[in-house]
Amino acid sequence: MEKRVILDQQYFGITLNRLAAQLIENHQDFENTALIGLQPRGINVLTRLKKILEKELGKEILCGQLDITFYRDDFRRRDTPIIPSVTNIDFIIENKNIVLIDDVLFSGRTIRSGLDALLAFGRPNKVELLAFVDRRFERHLPIQPDYSGKTVDTLSSQRVSVEWEEIEGEDKVILYTQEKTDE
């Protein structure tokens, strides 16, 4: 497996700050806005953004965690079922502006499930999508991000992994490429 860093520590921080700034631009003081991270890895993006936004705005931002396991469209197509993570939305989303947050946007299927799962909690006023990495050209569904940290052109055989200081030891985005084998 070939490994290439496509976003290093320095640019990682810059990107997060830019996303936070864009969110403030559109949502001002977050009066009626809540951020919802998708389990499991969207939560990492959410946690960081929340920290930046709260420092910037000096107030607490409404945040939730959403697990989409039961809404996936590949149930019974996988070899082993996914054990769900925690869903934690302790506020009413009715009429709120919601920003769904995930680390990598690929086929768009997770987001579709996320929208389904979200609607089980009520009818938001507006839903936006923030993806830390957008693998464009790989979509299976007509879903595009409103905010994207880094846009990359990848092959479906490649894999993009967002690593975090608090988990993997360093902030970076890595692109993995399967090495070619002679046929």
Binding site: D67, F70, Y71, R76, D79, T80, P81, P84, A120, F121
Partner: protein, 311 residues
């Protein structure tokens, strides 16, 4: 591995500790789901489940049906009282006829021990045992242990549970013994000699005939119902005497040196195995058990359904 080691849920005896833990973990998520404004998930949209109840049931049947509907499965119900079983059709024929209508899973209660296993070996659908005679009632045991876990924490090691009452005729008792022991808890059974099977100590459970001693020993007491419908002869002189010796009342409960948790699988015979003030006290988790029942059954059905591969 997130997969169950079994394709059918016949009894707790066939499950591993890991299986039970996967079921509990999945049930945690379903418990969140059933406490939301919209209590439904679309996971089992393409699964059809037949609930075959050859024996009476209110709670279990409702609980299974709710669990199935909250997973968005299609459900067909069948009760023996109003069916062709009365006309002499065999179990396998009845079920095969239902399966030809493209059913993926069967939830069955039957008065014969082993009926679920018999069926699982003969039909091409996943089978969930909802009670087979005096043999096992796996989902009840799972929800009982799950309720204990909720009260006392995930670690069952050293946890002491006493099962009081009609052990001989109880499938709940047998399944509970297997489940609690697999999780690491210590189990005691308590009741009159006539209602405790002779060699039950071979299962590694303690046997006690005095209720107070048993209650002093335990953290959790599971009070079973006297199953008069399964008792063909008299096992004790009178219900009044049983209730005096083995009924749990507020007086005994308050006189114990520690606060124990009181459980009952239902239906309760108030004033026989448990008095009303105990059943409605804050030490009783009878209604939590019922709520957890739906979450546990959702988890079991979800995990078994994930093993039915789509064509």
């Amino acid at each position: 591995m997130n997969n169950l080691s079994v394709d059918h849920l016949i009894g707790i005896k066939d499950l591993t500790k890991e299986d039970i833990e996967i079921i509990f973990k999945t049930a945690d998520s379903f418990k969140q789901v059933i406490n939301r404004p919209i209590k439904k998930v679309p996971s089992l949209r393409d699964i059809t489940i037949a609930n075959l109840f050859f024996e009476n049931s209110t709670r279990t049947r409702l609980s299974f049906e709710l669990a199935e509907k909250r997973l968005s499965a299609d459900v067909v119900n069948f009760s023996a009282a109003s069916s062709s079983v009365k006309k002499g059709e065999t179990l396998v024929d009845t079920v095969n006829n239902i399966l030809s209508m493209k059913v993926d899973m069967v939830v069955m209660r039957h008065s014969s021990p082993g009926a679920a296993k018999f069926l699982s070996e003969r039909i091409g659908a996943a089978v969930v045992n909802a009670g087979d005679g005096t043999h096992e009632h796996p989902t009840q045991a799972l929800l009982d242990s799950y309720s204990i876990r909720e009260q006392h924490g995930e670690d069952f090691n050293g946890r002491k549970v006493v099962i009081v009452g009609d052990i001989s005729h109880s499938r709940v008792a047998l399944s509970n013994i297997y489940c609690l022991q697999k999780l690491g808890a210590e189990v005691m059974v308590c009741g009159p000699t006539t209602l405790i099977p002779k060699h039950i100590d071979k299962l590694g459970v303690k046997v006690e005939h005095d209720l107070r001693t048993a209650l002093e020993w335990c953290d959790v007491a599971n009070m079973l119902r006297i199953q008069l419908e399964r008792q063909d002869i008299k096992y004790f002189p009178s219900l009044r005497e049983y209730s005096m010796l083995y009924g749990l009342n507020k007086e005994i409960l308050d006189s114990l040196s520690k606060k124990i948790t009181v459980m009952h699988p239902g239906p309760i015979n108030r004033g026989v195995e448990i008095t009303s003030d105990v059943a409605d006290s804050d030490q009783s988790i009878i209604l939590q058990q019922v709520e957890n029942g739906v979450a546990i059954r959702m988890a079991v059905i979800y995990l078994l359904a994930s093993k039915i591969k789509r064509q």
